[in-house]
Every structure is written in C-alpha cells, then in structure tokens.
Symmetry: C2
Subunit: 329 residues, 2 copies
Amino acid sequence: MGDPAGIGPEVIMKTLASPAIRGLAVFVIAGDKNVIGQAASIAGISAEELAFHPDPGPRTSGLELKEKCINVIDPGPELDDMAPGRPTDAGARKSLACIDLAIHLVRDAQNDTPKAIVTAPVCKEAIANIHPGFVGHTEYLQEAFSVKFVTMAMVGERFSVIPVTRHIPIKDVASSLSVDLISGTLEQVIQNRSVISGKDDPRISVAALNPHSGEGGKIGKEENDIIRPAVERAKAVYGPVEGPISADVVFYRALKKDTDIVVSMYHDQGLAPFKMVEFDTGVNMTLGLGHVRTSPDHGTAFDIAGKGVAGTESMQNAVKLAVRAITNR
Amino acid sequence: MGDPAGIGPEVIMKTLASPAIRGLAVFVIAGDKNVIGQAASIAGISAEELAFHPDPGPRTSGLELKEKCINVIDPGPELDDMAPGRPTDAGARKSLACIDLAIHLVRDAQNDTPKAIVTAPVCKEAIANIHPGFVGHTEYLQEAFSVKFVTMAMVGERFSVIPVTRHIPIKDVASSLSVDLISGTLEQVIQNRSVISGKDDPRISVAALNPHSGEGGKIGKEENDIIRPAVERAKAVYGPVEGPISADVVFYRALKKDTDIVVSMYHDQGLAPFKMVEFDTGVNMTLGLGHVRTSPDHGTAFDIAGKGVAGTESMQNAVKLAVRAITNR
C-alpha cells in the first residue's frame, strides 16, 4: 500500500481499475482496509470487486484468494484519523506492517505459484522514526531475503539504467568503485537482461566514470584500471557488452536505441538522463533478491494525495514489469 | 576553419551556402584557400561567391571585406597533400595559424564593427604535438584575450547547461568546488542570460552535487555549505535563480521548459542529459572572454570527413548564436 497518507493507495487502485491490468495476475494488496476502500471509490472500483481476507498469520496455506477480485489483506491495527497528505507515526507503522506482510506472502507461501512484490511509495523518514535504521525498501527487502548483494535497475520505456553505486556522496564515488563491484553488478544485469529490456539479446553499455572517458588516462585512471577489466570479464559471459563509453555519448545512443541498458558508475550519472525522459514512466526494480520486486519511481507526493490527480503510468509499468519477470510474458 | 582534414571546412561552407545565414553578417573564414575551395564545391558555392584576401598582417585596417561574398583569408603556408580524414602536423599547424588569425582580426581590428569568432573543430592532440600545452580552443582563447576566468556554456534548442567544473576527474570534483567558483560562474551566466536563452528573464536552476540533493546533509554537505550560499548571492543580483535541485529532477524540468538554464556542478552531470537531446544541435559558447566565441559541439569526425555527409545543424546554431550575441537579434 505504501504510506496511507501518500498517493500509493490511489495509484494502486487506479491501476487495478483497468481490466487489462487485472487480467495479468491475481492481485493481493497488503493495506489498510479503510484506506484501500476509499482509494477504490476514487478509482471507480465497486465494493463487489474487493475481497477482504484476514491476516493469514505464519502459515499462508489457509489463504483462499479470489482470482476475479482485488484481494485485500489488512495486517492491522486499524488506522484512525488518516488524512491524505498528512503522514503520521501510525501510518508509517502500518506501511511497514504491509511490507512485512508482502514479504511473508512471497517468501513463506506453501505453493509454487510465481509471486512478485510491487511496492508503493513510503515515507522513509517517518518509518525511520519508528524503525531506526530504515533507509528504504531495497535495503529492507535485502535483509528480509538474506541476500548480500542487490542491484537497483531503473527500467524505462526508452532505455534502462543500472547505477553501480547509489546513495553516496560524489566525493566517495571513485574510491567506492572496484572491478568486483562493477562485475557483480554486470553479472546481475546480464542474468536479468531480458526482463529489463524485453529483448533476448539487448545491448549493454557501460558508462565511463570521468569526462570524455578519461581521455586516455589524462582525466582519471579508473576507466583503464577498473572499468575496462570488469567489462572484459562480463564480455566473456555475454558478448553484447561494451564500454567504458563517455557519459555524454552513451545516453545519446540509448535514446536513439543504439543501446538498451546503460550501466552507470553513480546515481546522478544514470538517473539525471533517465528521469529527464522517464520521470513519469520509469520503474525501479531490485535485482538479486531471489524474488521479483518492482516499484514505481516516484515518491509519496503528499502534496497531491487524496486529490485524485496522481498519474499511474509508473505504477502500471511496475505491475507489467513484475508480471513479465515472473511469467516471461 | 578547424582541422583541414576534419569536417570543419565542409560544415562551414554548407552552413554559408544558405542565403538566410549569409544575410545575418559579413563572414570571414580564416582558412586554407585550397581546402576552403574544395569545401565550397562540395557545398555548391560558386567561385564568384568567394573573395580571397591576403593576410592583413599586424594592422587590419587595409582589409576590405566584400559584404556579399564569403571572405577568405589564408594565413599561409599553403598545404600540400591534404587528404580528408588524415590529420597531419602541417594541418594542425595551419589550424592553429587560423585560430591566431581569427583572434587577431577580432582583438586588434581598428574599427567598431561588432565581431565574433565561430571556431570549427580542431584535433587537440595534433596541435599539442606541434604546440605543447594546447588543451583546446577555450583555454587558448582565454590566454590570447588575457582573461582570468571563463565559463563554458552549452547552448541548446531545448535548454542550456553551464558546468561549474569541466575536464577534471570525478574524484576531484567535490574538492574543486567553492562558493567563489560557483558565484563567479553564476555571475557570467546572469550577465549572458539573454544571449544564452533568447529570453529577457530566463529561469536559472543550479544542480545539487550529491544524489537527492544530499538529503538534508545525509549524502554530502556541499549543498548546504557551498552551493546554497552561492545561489543566495546570485539571487541578490537576479531573482529567478533557484537551487540546489537534485540532478534527477532539474533536467526533467528543463526538458519540460520549467527552467531555461541549468548550472551543473561537473561535466557529465550537465553534458550527459544535454547531449542526449542536443547532440546534433548544441553550441559551445565561451563566456567571459570579452569577445563572443561560439563553436559547434562536435569534433573533427575524421571518419566521415570529405564524404559530404556531415550535419550542419550545430554549426548553423553556432553562427546564429554568435550573431545574436553581438547584435541582440
């Protein structure tokens, strides 16, 4: 559900109001039943289309989902006084309980049905207040699924970007890079290349770190010392990997569709060009969890919550990408 | 003329083949007469349209330009064996002599006619071989015009970008920034805002250095310590300056035309998004020289030189911008 005071509930229900989307999978919302009920009415979804279930507890085998309905499980406790746009501690606590429920349903289910998590935006600061150390879905899921190394993929309609380093200061970027880190990222990108790109054999381009790709070592050594060896290692596994390529060239090629996936060395190098053209459409996908997790690439947007004006393209794409990842459709 | 073996001569002559462009100003090419003659025939410009002049020497007062013609001054010596796509030392030497001539014509002319330099691409490495220390037009012109501080503006059709730091390794970016450097850059941007944007009161946005604009200091201190004070100082001079703004937001706004000019903290932060959409159209303009200098934003493209296929949009825009800068047209 995301933060109950944000646009999460609304974009979820508006997205699920589409019969085409509903036909893709059986949907289960981990959310507050009142908040979801209100969002359903904003989205024009009738009460008959919703199926409420009790929290299945440690065993999920008793859960009988209704395939034609939007299934809603409320992990409790009920929220009082929720107003759109006004985040509260209780709301943050509930959004975290919903994440826990989603993890539980995917991780501990006693059946073989393929499952994916699509998260809606939470208020990181508010959750950190009640759960110290919370920095975001990605890291929380990484811990829940007990994996050492995950990669953030930003999947767009035009091209996709995977940053090797994420939320660190620019001054620490160069010293954080290593052949192993870039290789590990490329490995997960290569494994997930078809899901990310929707193609069997996408072209993967690796951005340089320094201006003009270091100009032969004159503007930095990392291209030769770190990036090139990692690219060579990746090429041995999957041919269509190239790089390092100047950042001011590689995104031009990506927009022209001369390449499909760009691996960037740091956050803004990839996300500034990506969000310039995919702000409303991009999807955040976590690679390496052992389970599929996607998310729209926008925040809680408290300023427009409850007004019925939130756009759903990014959430629609997040749902479609999750379905593609588990079904190869 | 740029490097005689590159696409410079061809894009110059193709650009000047347009009557609309020719009507904007009196054009003088500092170039090799044979190379320019060949480029003229590729561009469909007849011999009668060209007016060759001898090098005017230290005094420029004897130079009588023909307004209806394309004036060509060859600083000598004549080039033998020039072949498109094959850079030579002699060609590099000649391209440098042409820059010197252009500087001389603009700096030392004994009349009040407004003048501008439009440069064509040179081979930096080849010039550095015969003139050690040459790193590019910008620095060479800075020295020739005896100015301490210049700024590189990338002027596009959609938006423009001015990087505060340029050709330095990423590891040195954070430590190279200071309130004074950003303020000095903003000062030149504010002075030249109308030329850059084509508007009287463009909006100027300053990018953050770190991901998510430093998230309130959690991902870097430079936003609060360095960028914000510089933005406040600039705002006191010119109101519509805002920042710091996350790089993954500011270029989205620029493409939507919610802002006109983005000041970026480093090369790729600005140039990756800029060249993604302005690769064929962007113009490089040097601010702070005391004279107007523009340049197309592409290289010598030796691989396609002499084939008649080089695009001219960037050179056309460079000429138009130079004219706008000296005439306010």
